[in-house]
C-alpha cells in the first residue's frame, strides 16, 4: 500500500528524463569496459544515463566502441535525478524494476547491455544513501559447487564495483555468492543455465 502511494505521488516525475551525473572522460576506460568490468582500476563512471519508460532501449550512444555506455545526455541537465525515485523500484515500466543481470558461462564480467541497468541502480543508491541493497550472485549447475559460489560471488562483486563507480557507497551494498544452490529454474539445458547465471539486486525494503 505504501508503495502504491509513493508511486502515485511521483507519477509526474516519471514522465521526464533525467541526466545522471557522471564523469568518464577517459576513452581508455571504454576499452576496459568492453571486456570486463571486474577490473578495479579507474575511479571514473559513465557520463550519463537515461531511465524511464524507454528503459535501456532508449539508450543512445555516440561511442564508436559500442553502444553499451549510456554516456549521452538526452536531458541537458546532468544533475537532474528527479526520475530516480524509490517508487520506480516497483514500477514495472521503470528500469529500476529490472533487477537481474545475466552472465556468460564461467565469467564474472558484465555484459555491455547491463551497464545502464547497473548505473541506474547505482544512481538510485547514490541518491538515497540510506538505501541498502544486496547483490546475490548465482551460477548455473555446471562445474563444482564451491567454485560456483566463488564465481557467483565474483559476479556480484563485479556489479558492486561498477555501482561504486557510479556513486553508490560501499556500505550500501552487500554481496553474496549463492553458487548454484538457488536456481531460478531446474532445467538442465542452455536456457535454464542462462537464467540461472545471474546477479539479483535486492533492496532491503522494496
Amino acid at each position: 500500500m505504501k508503495n502504491i502511494k509513493i508511486r502515485l505521488m511521483l507519477l509526474p516525475l516519471l514522465l521526464s528524463t533525467l541526466a545522471l551525473g557522471a564523469c568518464s572522460q577517459n576513452a581508455k576506460q571504454d576499452d576496459k569496459n568492453a571486456g570486463t568490468v571486474t577490473s578495479s582500476q579507474g575511479g571514473d563512471g559513465t557520463k550519463s544515463g537515461t531511465i524511464g519508460a524507454g528503459g535501456a532501449s532508449g539508450v543512445n550512444s555516440n561511442s564508436t566502441r559500442g553502444d553499451y555506455l549510456p554516456n549521452q545526455n538526452v536531458n541537458n541537465d546532468p544533475n537532474n535525478t528527479n526520475d530516480l525515485t524509490l517508487s520506480g523500484l516497483n514500477d514495472p515500466s521503470n528500469l529500476l524494476s529490472k533487477r537481474v543481470i545475466y552472465f556468460d558461462y564461467n565469467k564474472a564480467g558484465i555484459r555491455p547491455e547491463y551497464m545502464i541497468l547497473i548505473n541506474t541502480h547505482a544512481k538510485l543508491a547514490a541518491k538515497y544513501p540510506q538505501l541498502k541493497m544486496r547483490l546475490e550472485g548465482h551460477a548455473d549447475e555446471r562445474g563444482s559447487r564451491e567454485y560456483n559460489v566463488a564465481l557467483s560471488e565474483q559476479r556480484s562483486q563485479s556489479v558492486k564495483r561498477l555501482m561504486g563507480i557510479q556513486g553508490a557507497r560501499s556500505g550500501q551494498i552487500k554481496t553474496i555468492g549463492y553458487g548454484e544452490e538457488v536456481p531460478i529454474v531446474t532445467g538442465h539445458d542452455k536456457d535454464s543455465w542462462q537464467q540461472n547465471r545471474r546477479v539479483e539486486i535486492k533492496y532491503d525494503n522494496y
Binding site: 578495479s40 564461467n106 544486496r134 549447475e141 555446471r142 562445474g143 563444482s144 559447487r145 564451491e146 567454485y147 559460489v149 566463488a150 564465481l151 560471488e153 565474483q154 562483486q157 552487500k174 554481496t175 553474496i176 555468492g177 549463492y178 553458487g179 544452490e181 538457488v182 536456481p183 531460478i184 529454474v185 531446474t186 538442465h188
Partner: protein
C-alpha cells in the same frame, strides 16, 4: 649341481602365452577380457610359462556368501554382498551355484568349490544382534572366524563383517562401516525450498537429518574423528561456517567473515580447518586453528582459490582459475608458491584425497565426470560417464568414490570403485541430493 645346470638349460626353452589386449578405456574396462591364446614355441617337455595380465578387466575375486539369517530385509549376507561388490574387488557368486552348502558350524569341504569361488563366507546371528562369521579359502581350506558384537544400528555388524572379510582378503582396511553426509533439497525453485543435512550409512541406508534450513546448506566436511561436521550455512543471508556435533547436535560458528566463507576441510590431525574466504576481495585459501581460531592466509592470487583438500597435514590441493580456467594446484599448508597438477581439460576441480589418491571433477566438452589420479602419477582415469557428475568424495581407504549424478532429472548418489569396475546408485530421501562427504573410519 647337475640338476641346477639342467634347470638352467631347461629354463631357456620358453613357451609364450599371448593374450589379446585392448587399450584402456571405460568401455573396455567393463568388458571381460579373457580370450587367451596359447602358442607353443617349443616342443620341449619342460617349459616355463609366460602369462599376460592386463589392467583392463572387470573380473573380481569370486566369493560366495552363504545365507546369514537375520531379521533384516535382505539379510546380513545381502549387506555383505553389496558392500564387497561395491568395492570393485569381488565378484559375488550366485547362491544357486552352491545350492546346499553346509550351514555354519557343519563341516565344509571348501576345496570342492575351488572352481566356483575363491572364498566362502558362512555365518549366523548370535541371537543378540551380533554375528558369527567364518571365512574359508577354497584354495587352501584356511578358515578365519570373527565374532561381531551387536550395535544399535542393526546393519552395522554386517558392514563390520564386510570390512573384516575385505581386509583379510585384500590386506587393506575395509571402509564399509563408515558414513556419508550429504545435503538434500526439496522444492528447489520455490519459496518452500528446504535444505537438509543428512547422515547415512556408507551404503545410503539409515539416513538421518541433522539440520534443515530454508537457505542453502553446503559443503559438509567430517572431522577426522568422525564426530563433527563442518558445513556452510546461508542461514543469515550470508555464508558462514559452522561445526556441529553429529551426536549431540551442538554447533559452533567457525567463520562468518565478510564475503565468502566456504569449502571447509579439516586437516587430518584435526588441528586446522582450511577454507576459502574473500575478506581481501577475492577468494583465497586460509587455515583456521580449531582451538585458537588463529587465521592464516595460504594463497595469494587475484583469481579464485577455493575447494581446499588436505594432502596429509603438509600440503593442500585446491582449485584455482589463476591460469584462466579452473585447475588443481598444490601448495604447502604454510603457504608459498603453488604448483599446477592438472593440465588436460578445461575444467578440473573439487579434489578429495584419501590414501594417496585424488578424486576430482574433470570437465570436457560441456560434460563433467569424476576422475581419479594418484598423487605420484601424472595420468588420470575417468570413473563416471554422466553428463553433470559432481562432488566426488573418497572412502577413507581410497577404494571407492561417492558422487552425485543426474538420474531422471534429479541428482542422486552413486558410488564407484576406484578401478571403475563397480558402480552402485544409493537410495536417499526425497529431493535433489548433493555434496556427499565420506566419513573417516569410525571409532564407535
Amino acid at each position: 649341481m647337475r640338476n641346477g645346470n639342467k634347470m638352467d638349460k631347461v629354463s631357456n626353452s620358453k613357451t609364450q602365452i599371448i593374450e589379446k589386449r585392448g587399450g584402456w578405456s571405460i568401455k573396455k574396462a567393463f568388458l571381460p577380457l579373457f580370450s587367451v591364446i596359447f602358442i607353443l614355441l617349443s616342443s620341449s617337455t619342460y617349459a616355463e610359462l609366460e602369462l599376460h595380465i592386463s589392467k583392463t578387466s572387470d573380473d573380481g575375486i569370486p566369493i560366495y556368501i552363504a545365507n546369514i539369517s537375520a531379521g533384516i530385509p535382505g539379510g546380513h549376507n545381502g549387506i555383505i554382498e553389496a558392500d564387497l561388490k561395491r568395492s570393485g574387488r569381488f565378484t559375488i557368486v550366485n547362491r544357486s551355484k552352491i545350492p546346499n552348502i553346509a550351514s555354519y558350524g557343519e563341516t565344509l569341504n571348501a576345496g570342492a568349490y575351488q572352481d566356483i569361488a575363491d572364498y566362502i563366507v558362512r555365518g549366523k546371528d548370535n541371537g543378540n544382534g551380533g554375528l558369527f562369521i567364518e571365512l574359508v579359502s577354497t584354495t587352501d581350506n584356511a578358515k578365519t572366524n570373527y565374532t561381531i558384537t551387536a550395535n544399535e544400528n542393526p546393519r552395522r555388524p554386517a558392514h563390520k563383517a564386510a570390512d573384516l572379510i575385505y581386509e583379510k582378503i585384500t590386506r587393506r582396511k575395509g571402509a564399509f562401516d563408515t558414513r556419508l553426509a550429504y545435503v538434500t533439497v526439496t522444492n528447489s525453485t520455490s519459496k518452500n525450498r528446504t535444505f537438509r543435512l543428512y547422515i547415512s550409512d556408507s551404503d545410503g541406508n539409515n539416513p538421518q537429518s541433522i539440520l534443515s534450513s530454508r537457505r542453502p546448506i553446503m559443503s559438509p566436511a567430517w572431522s577426522p574423528d568422525g564426530s563433527e561436521l563442518a558445513y556452510v550455512s546461508f542461514e543469515k543471508n550470508t555464508s558462514a561456517i559452522y561445526v556441529q556435533n553429529i551426536f549431540t547436535g551442538a554447533k559452533r560458528l567457525i567463520s562468518a567473515r565478510e564475503g565468502i566463507n566456504g569449502a571447509p576441510a579439516w586437516s587430518p590431525d584435526g588441528s586446522r580447518i582450511a577454507m576459502s574466504l574473500s575478506i581481501n576481495g577475492n577468494p583465497e585459501i586460509y587455515t583456521i586453528n580449531t582451538k585458537s581460531g588463529a587465521l592464516k592466509r595460504i594463497t595469494n592470487s587475484s583469481a579464485i582459490d577455493t575447494e581446499p583438500a588436505w594432502n596429509g597435514t603438509g600440503s593442500i590441493i585446491f582449485t584455482s582459475n589463476r591460469g584462466g580456467s579452473p585447475q588443481l594446484y598444490r601448495i604447502s599448508a604454510n603457504g608459498g608458491d603453488a604448483q599446477r597438477i592438472t593440465f588436460d581439460g578445461k575444467y578440473n576441480s573439487a579434489a578429495d584425497i584419501a590414501n594417496n589418491k585424488i578424486a576430482f571433477i574433470s570437465g570436457n566438452r560441456g560434460a563433467f565426470h569424476v576422475a581419479i589420479k594418484s598423487m605420484s602419477e601424472s595420468g588420470k582415469n575417468m570413473l563416471s560417464n554422466g553428463r553433470l557428475d559432481e562432488s566426488p568424495t573418497l572412502a577413507p581407504n581410497g577404494a571407492m568414490v561417492a558422487y552425485t549424478t543426474l538420474r531422471n532429472g534429479q541428482n542422486t548418489l552413486a558410488v564407484v570403485s576406484d578401478n571403475g569396475k563397480s558402480r552402485q546408485f544409493l537410495t536417499s530421501p526425497a529431493g535433489d541430493v548433493r555434496e556427499p562427504a565420506w566419513s573417516p573410519y569410525l571409532h564407535k
